[in-house]
């Protein structure tokens, strides 16, 4: 199982036939194992990493740190869940340190993001303060280096 996950983690489009060869399983076994992992939610979804800038679309990303005051009996989960429901919010994490929650927000412009935070997030009752960091450039995302990848400069033939 783990072996299959490692193979498809960076490329879900590898044909089952090839996975079968690499793992020594039959094609049917591979298909049923993958199905099983999809059903169990081990494989959450297959995603496409897009360079939107190259596609001519400009997006602005910001990391927002929140200080949260908990209301009686509802924990962090409740407020995190509320925030997570906004489609503008790309990720929500509970963090240690000076702040409680860390969000990534995506918008069409800086104004867009700023207004969203001011109107939708800062106004939440439990949110005591926000700090917004606009992302100027992304160098690495989801384990993928976004600048020129390095490759081995090998000679074509060696002993």
């Amino acid at each position: 199982m783990k072996e299959i996950l490692e193979i498809i983690e960076s490329n879900p489009k590898i044909p089952h036939k090839d996975i079968a060869t690499m793992t020594g399983l039959t094609e049917a076994q591979v298909a049923s194992k993958i199905k099983e992992m999809e059903n169990k939610g081990i494989i959450r979804k297959y995603k496409t990493v897009i360079d939107w800038e190259k596609a001519g679309e400009e997006y602005v990303y910001a990391i927002i740190e929140l200080k949260v005051v908990l209301r009686s009996r509802t924990g962090y989960d409740a407020i995190a869940e509320r925030i997570a429901k906004f489609p503008e919010v790309v990720s929500v994490r509970l963090i240690s340190g000076g702040h409680d929650l860390s969000l990534t927000v995506r918008g069409k412009s800086m104004k867009d993001v700023a207004f969203f935070v001011a109107e939708k997030i800062a106004t939440l009752e439990q949110v005591q303060g926000t700090v917004t960091h606009f992302v100027l450039r992304t160098y690495k995302q989801d384990g993928d280096i976004l600048f020129e990848k390095e490759h081995s400069e090998r000679l074509a033939i060696s002993p």
Binding site: T21, R154, S158, P159
Partner: protein
């Protein structure tokens, strides 16, 4: 030029068969090369960073001839962990500039004029010339697919004369990918003992063993004092160009090798030694990832060749497949040359590694899966045309 200044021993060494291909490939574009004897991974970043840090700190001096003590301690520790063999880092471990240097030192340290050295083939290209340059006589022993390219104790026994001094073992093997079972090694150990031989065992591909664990020759009972184990980080940690190899053996043998090393190489480069410490200390996770990936490609390639109708022995170590092309009626060299010219895939003819390699090709799978798939499909269309 008459070449009158060049020594006869050197003149008599045939040029490497790999060289000719290398020159051909250089002239072409769009070639997929399966002819490469090194990893396609770049050296893991933490190792490179250790090298950079050492430069920043100004570690640019000579080291002890034997190598940095800390590195030797780590090497000794890893032998104990991996193979349960004890080597004293003070005098039984020598750090060299790649395993090639270690092999050369080992031959020069043990060979008296005209001593015979048994070398199972196919094998890495340097052993025979190194033995000749050390004044010895290489005695090749062929291995075959029928016996999974393993040398047998009977074969060794038959090749022994009163002049036989040493036996070379190189498993996991370049170019076949063959490995030895513990039982094979034990049988060979008996022959070695009876005939009072010294064994030079090149185990640089030891970490790249895909079924079961590698058996270090000196872990066989009674063999530690009569063997020199050659190993290094080039293949396991993708650091070929950093040139770190090492030899382990008895104080007597390592002492003899160190004598030559101190007058020729002096010491391995300190930057690379610093990187090597980091590699052994913290490099296991990255290494295991690379080995796993090689294993996947190995299955793909072996399967690919067999599907193309080229009988391919299942390699259990290193990163080479060694398919037979006898069914095509071409010689290895014809096949390789025509394949390169018509389909732009570079492979190495098997006879470069010894006569018995004829009719085979060495194809390295230390290349991305995408490239391997493309190479196999090009070989397929080449086969359709001949």
């Amino acid at each position: 030029m008459s070449g009158k200044f060049v020594a006869t021993t050197v003149k008599n060494i045939p040029p490497s068969g790999i060289r000719k291909f290398f020159d051909l490939v250089l002239e072409m574009e769009g070639v997929i090369s399966l002819g490469v004897g090194e990893p396609d991974f770049v050296t893991p970043w933490h190792i490179r960073e250790a090298c950079i840090y050492s430069l920043e700190k100004g570690f640019t001096t000579y080291t002890s001839n034997l190598g940095l003590l800390e590195l030797r301690e780590w090497i000794s520790k890893s032998f104990k962990n991996d193979y349960k063999v004890d080597y004293d880092p003070k005098n039984q471990v020598l750090v060299t500039t790649g395993v090639s240097e270690a092999a050369d030192l080992a031959f020069r340290a043990v060979i008296n004029p005209c001593d015979e050295v048994i070398i199972p083939e196919p094998c890495y290209v340097s052993y025979k010339p190194s033995v000749s340059m050390a004044g010895g006589k290489p005695v090749p022993v062929p291995t075959f697919r029928e016996n999974e390219f393993r040398v047998t104790c009977e074969q060794i026994q038959k090749s022994i004369t009163r002049k036989t001094k040493a036996l070379v073992l190189s498993y996991p093997n370049n170019p076949t990918g063959a490995i030895m079972r513990q039982k094979d090694l034990e049988e060979i150990a008996d022959v070695v003992n009876e005939n009072d031989l010294v064994v030079i065992s090149d185990e640089v591909y030891g970490k790249l063993t895909y079924e079961g664990a590698h058996t270090c020759f000196s872990s066989i009972s009674g063999m530690k004092d009569r063997s020199i184990i050659l190993n290094g980080l080039s293949k396991s940690h993708a650091m070929t160009g950093l040139r770190i190899g090492f030899a382990t053996g008895s104080e007597e043998l390592i002492g003899a090798m160190t004598k030559i090393h101190q007058y020729s190489m002096l010491c391995a480069p300190i930057t690379a030694q610093m990187g090597a410490i980091e590699a052994i200390k913290n490099g296991n996770a990255e290494m295991e990832k690379m080995v796993k990936e090689y294993d996947r490609r190995r299955r793909m390639v072996v399967n690919g060749f067999n599907n193309l109708g080229l009988d391919c022995f299942e390699p259990l170590g290193a990163f080479y497949a060694f398919p037979s092309i006898k069914s095509t009626g071409l010689t290895s060299e014809e096949f390789a040359e025509r394949l390169l010219k018509t389909e732009k895939v570079a492979v190495v003819p098997g006879d470069v590694f010894g006569e018995c390699g004829a009719g085979h090709l060495r194809c390295s799978y230390a290349t991305s899966r995408e490239q391997l798939v493309e190479a196999l499909s090009r070989i397929g269309s080449f086969l359709d045309k001949i």
